[in-house]
């Protein structure tokens, strides 16, 4: 494999940013090879991991080392040669630290794809240059846009097998761009690569000299993510109330949580929901001392000027910028349970930010075909991996925003109350 002496050996400075990206595609598209290439060329892959993979691959009689063995960590995955579940991988360059959520591509694993995309800053979708866009590529793009992944990269892989032909690339790029405009993808980049040969993955390649864009790694290092966060709408879901019960801190009462969105400062006027009382922020603290401002993803403790009744599940916001407070919630739901479908009139537990409520399904408006985007309005239930629009009535109001505007206050999970399993994910529309 290529030498990348310019890269630090899986190290980085302490001031580097974190970028989370999800990869989608199947083994056939060369996804595992691409990830293996990124890990190998950034010197993240360790020798004993490499030896273990080459030994297993050789033992099976593979013609070349199967890099999928690096990421397929479960016995059943190795036996069946498929990726079943999301695997997390880590690498770093001097520019950034990366977390890869490596998700399986097949339609029966839509729920895993949705899971991986839920926290991603960027989605990396792979297509085989010989095959062009297939149903699966469109589905992945749709799911990533549904989950509001802010950046999307289409990697046209196996360029070596089409003689690095620019026309092939252009054709796929145009087709995908046309499709993406229908999906509301905020930022799309299309990059030709050969994961197997290493062309344009870490370094630009002579074979693709006609391509004027960056290498994949360069793009991952440089894509601007700081402004993806919502820094406008101050939302602070109260997670836990800190009351020390000690003589030193007798009257101390702090509201612990992670800033969901917006910026908060000491002195800011805030409203506590659902009660509606207003007060000011007396101080924002961490164990290292007070801070001048708090913003995502900081975990802090907020003290208020007035003693109010505030508990877990409540939310601090600005009086002039409040979330919706509603017991009637319209959402797109991805169903994740194989044993029981989501049913009309079904009752479930819902966890939304730090709030736990119960909910009943009042209406199943339609089921969405994730390949054709066709809406089936005759549907009355959602089965495993199906996505549909439903109306819920909750026992207590949700303090929520449209998912489009705020990923942190627009998403929720659905839990089966009988066995406590997570059976669905919802995004509020």
């Amino acid at each position: 494999m290529t030498d990348a002496a310019t890269l630090a050996p899986h190290g980085a400075e302490d001031t580097t940013e974190l970028l989370r990206f999800a990869t989608a595609g199947s083994v056939d598209d060369g996804k595992s090879t691409l990830i293996g290439r990124l890990l190998f060329d950034t010197k993240t892959l360790f020798e004993d991991q490499w030896e273990s993979v080459t030994a297993v691959s050789a033992g099976r009689g593979d013609e070349y080392t199967d890099l999928a063995l690096l990421t397929d960590g479960l016995r059943s995955e190795r036996e069946q040669g498929i990726t079943i579940d999301v695997a997390y991988r880590y690498f770093a360059t001097p520019e950034r630290k990366f977390i890869i959520a490596d998700t399986p591509g097949h339609i029966q694993y839509t729920r895993n794809m949705v899971t991986g995309a839920s926290t991603a800053d960027l989605a990396l979708i792979l297509v085989d240059a010989r095959k062009g866009l297939v149903e699966q590529s469109r589905r992945h793009a749709f799911l990533c846009s549904l989950l509001r992944v802010p950046h999307m990269v289409l990697c046209v892989n196996k360029m070596d097998l089409v003689d690095y032909d620019e026309a092939v690339f252009k054709q796929i790029e145009q087709e995908f761009s046309a499709f993406a405009t229908k999906l509301d993808v905020p930022d799309l980049t299309v990059i030709p690569v050969s994961a197997l040969k290493g062309d344009n993955v870490v370094t630009r390649s002579e074979n693709l000299s006609w391509f004027e864009g960056p290498s994949l790694l360069h793009h991952l290092e440089k894509v601007h993510i700081a402004s993806d966060r919502n820094l406008v709408d101050a939302r602070f879901p109260v997670q836990h109330v800190i009351r020390p019960h000690s003589n030193d801190n007798h009257d101390y009462r702090g509201y612990a949580g992670q800033v969901a969105s917006g910026v908060m400062k000491p002195g800011d006027e805030v409203m506590v929901l659902p009660s509606g009382f207003t007060t000011r922020i007396a101080a924002i603290e961490t164990a290292d001392g007070e801070v001048e401002e708090a913003f995502p993803p900081m975990s802090v403790t907020v003290r208020l000027e007035d003693e109010l009744d505030v508990s877990r599940g409540d939310m601090l916001c600005r009086p002039g910028n409040q979330p919706r407070v509603s017991q009637d919630v319209d959402a797109l739901v991805c169903w994740m349970d194989e044993s029981k479908p989501l049913r009309l009139r079904g009752k479930y537990a819902v966890k939304h930010t730090t709030a736990d409520v119960r909910a009943i399904v009042k209406d199943v408006q339609y089921q969405l075909d994730v390949n054709t985007l066709h809406r089936d309005e005759s549907a009355s239930e959602l089965r495993l991996n199906e996505i549909g629009r439903v109306t819920l009535r909750t026992t207590k109001p949700l303090l929520c925003d449209d998912y489009r505007r705020n990923r942190a206050t627009g998403g929720f999970i659905i839990i089966d109350e009988s066995d406590n399993r997570t059976v669905g994910a919802g995004i509020i529309v």
Binding site: H10, D14, R78, R89, S118, A256, T301, G411
Partner: protein
């Protein structure tokens, strides 16, 4: 700070603190597994930060094989005393004496820790157990959730894990079941060392390089101590080594190193080409799926 960015270490810390607080707010009886190893030391540090100025609101537990490095036990007791947390010790030796578990012929107690852990969890009714495991350590771990559900037998079912979306964690269990929680899931070995350096966290001396009497066994360097005695034909020699992980003293090998300070260790870890478990843990070499199999039985 004016551009509203945080470093990746600050982001990882914020995520871990959120996870720890979430457990305390939603579970009945959490406990932190604390061995005196660096990951559990970082966990205790984060727990203190999560609830300051209040004390850590849960006890710590050590599943004690009785085969520990003396310096680590000394450190454990000192750290627990300075924190003021309650320490629960689940003794493997005691479990052997009572007949709960049988010591394997080779004397390794790693695997028989599991029934001891499960018994203690049941006795104290712990429903959430914090561990310091990271996804970069091993590929079965790379697939495990941050909130990992275990059934009445403590078993992990990798094919039936709860989906985990955004930062919304599902810690609901029925009595007898547990959640294992891994707040350091997204940290790498290097992140842990950088954080230890940044936060000036104290560690047991075994982590720092020093001259030790060792034998070479299966290509690894084991310090001679109460648990490691030279076998026939094995030569004892002095080598400057440190430990990258700290497990049982009879199973954990050291690595040749001159790194005697945190800064030197960070530089060395940044340049190393072998995973910490691969370099130092005889117990993980057994098979391709050794970790997955142990986790299915209830191991951390």
């Amino acid at each position: 700070m004016s551009d509203y960015r945080v470093s990746h270490l600050a982001a990882l810390e914020a995520e871990a603190i959120f996870i720890i607080r979430e457990v305390v707010a939603t579970c009945q009886r959490p406990v932190l597994l604390f061995s005196g190893g660096k990951d559990s030391i970082v966990m205790l540090h984060l727990a203190q930060k999560a609830f300051a100025p209040a004390p850590v609101p849960f006890p710590v537990m050590h599943v004690d094989t009785g085969q520990n490095f003396d310096e680590v036990i000394e450190f454990r007791d000192r750290r627990v005393a300075s924190t003021g947390v309650q320490l629960v010790i689940a003794s493997v030796q005691d479990a052997i004496d009572r007949g709960l578990v049988t010591e394997p012929p080779d004397g390794t107690r790693n695997r028989i820790q599991t029934p001891v852990l499960l018994e203690a969890a049941e006795k104290y009714q712990f429903d959430a157990l914090f561990g310091g495991a990271r996804r970069d350590e091993e590929k079965a771990r790379a697939k495990e959730r941050v909130f990992s559900f275990r059934d009445d037998f403590g078993q992990w079912d990798p094919k039936n894990q709860r989906p985990e979306l955004w930062n919304i964690y599902n810690g609901r269990v029925h009595p007898g079941e547990q959640i294992r929680v891994f707040p350091l899931s997204n940290w790498t070995e290097l992140d842990v060392w950088r954080y230890i350096g940044e936060q000036e966290i104290e560690l047991p001396p075994v982590y720092f390089a020093g001259p030790r009497e060792v034998v070479e066994r299966d290509g690894m360097l084991y310090a001679v101590n109460r648990f490691i005695t030279p076998r026939d034909g094995e030569e004892v020699f002095t080598e400057t080594i440190r430990y990258r992980t700290v497990g049982d003293a009879n199973l954990t090998a050291g690595v040749r190193s001159e790194a005697a300070t945190i800064e030197q260790i960070i530089a060395e870890v940044a340049a190393t080409r072998i995973t910490e478990r691969g370099a130092t843990r005889g117990d993980d070499k057994t098979s391709e799926a050794a970790m997955e199999d142990r986790k299915r039985e209830g191991y951390f």
